[in-house]
C-alpha cells in the first residue's frame, strides 16, 4: 500500500520537475553567490530556472541566509502566498543552526521551526555549484517519489 500522502505529494511535486520558477528572498549573504547563478557564469536558465518577481508565480522559495525577527514574518507571508506545489530551499549555515549568528539576539536559529524546508544547502555562503546540486536533488527526490508510487 502506498499511503495517500505520498501519492498526493508525488502528483504535486511532479509538476515541479519541468522547470523551476524561483522567488528570491535575498537576505544579504544569499545574494552574492546567487548572482553568479543567475548571471552569465553559471546561468541557471540553461536548466529552466527563472527568477520571478511575484511569489504567486513561484515554485521554489530561496531563503538566502539568516532571518531576523523582522524578516521572518515576511518570509512566512511570502510562503503563504505561493501556490502549491511549492518547495523551500534554505541557503547557508545560518538557516540551519544560526551559523555565525548563533548568539545574536535578533536572528532566528532554525528556519524549519517557522516554515517547512524542503532542502538545506550548507555553506557560508554556499557555492553556486551547491545550489545546482540542491536543485538536482529536488528533481531526484520527485523522481523517486514517482517511482515509488508507480511501482506498487
Amino acid at each position: 500500500m502506498v499511503d495517500m500522502d505520498k501519492k498526493v505529494m508525488a502528483r504535486k511535486m511532479g509538476r515541479l520537475i519541468r522547470s523551476i520558477w524561483i522567488f528570491n528572498w535575498f537576505n544579504s549573504c544569499g545574494v552574492t553567490e546567487l548572482l553568479p547563478v543567475v548571471a552569465s557564469i553559471y546561468d541557471m536558465e540553461r536548466f529552466g530556472l527563472i527568477v520571478v518577481d511575484n511569489p504567486k508565480h513561484a515554485d521554489v522559495l530561496i531563503v538566502g541566509g539568516y532571518q531576523t525577527e523582522k524578516s521572518i514574518k515576511r518570509v512566512i507571508r511570502i510562503y503563504n502566498q505561493m501556490p502549491e506545489p511549492k518547495a523551500v530551499m534554505a541557503l547557508g549555515s545560518c538557516t540551519i543552526t544560526g551559523g555565525m549568528y548563533w548568539d545574536s539576539y535578533n536572528t532566528i536559529k532554525r528556519l524549519s521551526d517557522y516554515i517547512p524546508v524542503t532542502i538545506y544547502v550548507p555553506g557560508c555562503p554556499p557555492r553556486p555549484e551547491a545550489v545546482f546540486q540542491a536543485v538536482g536533488m529536488i528533481f531526484e527526490h520527485v523522481n523517486q517519489l514517482k517511482k515509488e508510487v508507480k511501482g506498487k
Partner: protein, 163 residues
C-alpha cells in the same frame, strides 16, 4: 577663534597624527559642537555611546571630521545613566545627526531632546530593555528565547556556550 582655541581649555589628547580626543562637560557640548561646525568640522562621521555601567554613566562620543583641516576630532561627554538625556545636535548637523541619534535612542535608550523623530529603527515590537545596554543580559535572552533546555542537542547552549 580657531578650532584649537575652542577645545584648548579641555586638555585635548593627541593620539597620533589626525586623531584628537577631548572630554567636554555635558552642558557645554552643544555650544562647542556648534562652534566647531562653524570652524570647519562639517562632517559628523559617527555618533556613538559607551555604557560605563560601573561608573553609572553613559559616554556619548561625537566623531567629527573636517574636510578643511583633515583632522578627526572626537568629542566625548558623560551623562548620568539614571537620567539619560542630552540635547540633540540635530539643529547643528541636521539629518546626519538625526539618524545616528535615532539609532542610539533605540539601542541604548538615550533621550535626545529636540530630535524630531526617535521612532524605532531596526527592531519591531521590542518590549525589553534597550538591547545594547550592559545590563541587558544578552546571552540569557538568547538562550531562553531560542534554545530549549530539554532538547538534547540544544542543552550545550545552556550549559556551556551561552553561560
Amino acid at each position: 577663534m580657531s578650532w584649537e582655541e575652542i577645545i584648548k581649555d579641555y586638555n585635548p589628547t593627541i593620539q597620533r597624527e589626525r586623531r584628537i580626543w577631548v572630554n567636554i562637560p555635558k552642558d557645554k557640548v552643544y555650544d562647542i559642537l556648534q562652534n566647531l561646525k562653524n570652524e570647519g568640522f562639517e562632517h559628523l562621521s559617527s555618533l556613538s555611546v559607551t555604557d560605563w555601567i560601573d561608573e553609572g554613566k553613559f559616554e556619548i562620543t561625537y566623531h567629527l571630521w573636517s574636510y578643511k583641516f583633515k583632522v578627526l576630532l572626537t568629542v566625548k561627554t558623560k551623562i548620568d545613566r539614571e537620567e539619560a538625556k542630552i540635547k540633540s545636535i540635530y539643529p547643528i548637523y541636521d539629518r546626519s545627526a538625526w539618524i545616528h541619534e535615532r539609532e542610539m535612542h533605540e539601542l541604548f535608550g538615550i533621550e535626545f531632546i529636540g530630535n524630531p523623530d526617535l521612532s524605532p529603527l531596526f527592531l519591531e515590537d521590542w518590549n525589553e530593555k534597550p538591547p545594547f545596554r550592559k545590563d541587558f543580559d544578552w546571552r540569557e535572552y538568547v538562550r531562553s528565547k531560542y534554545y530549549n533546555k530539554e532538547n538534547e542537542r540544544e542543552k550545550a547552549y545552556w550549559e556551556v556556550w551561552l553561560k
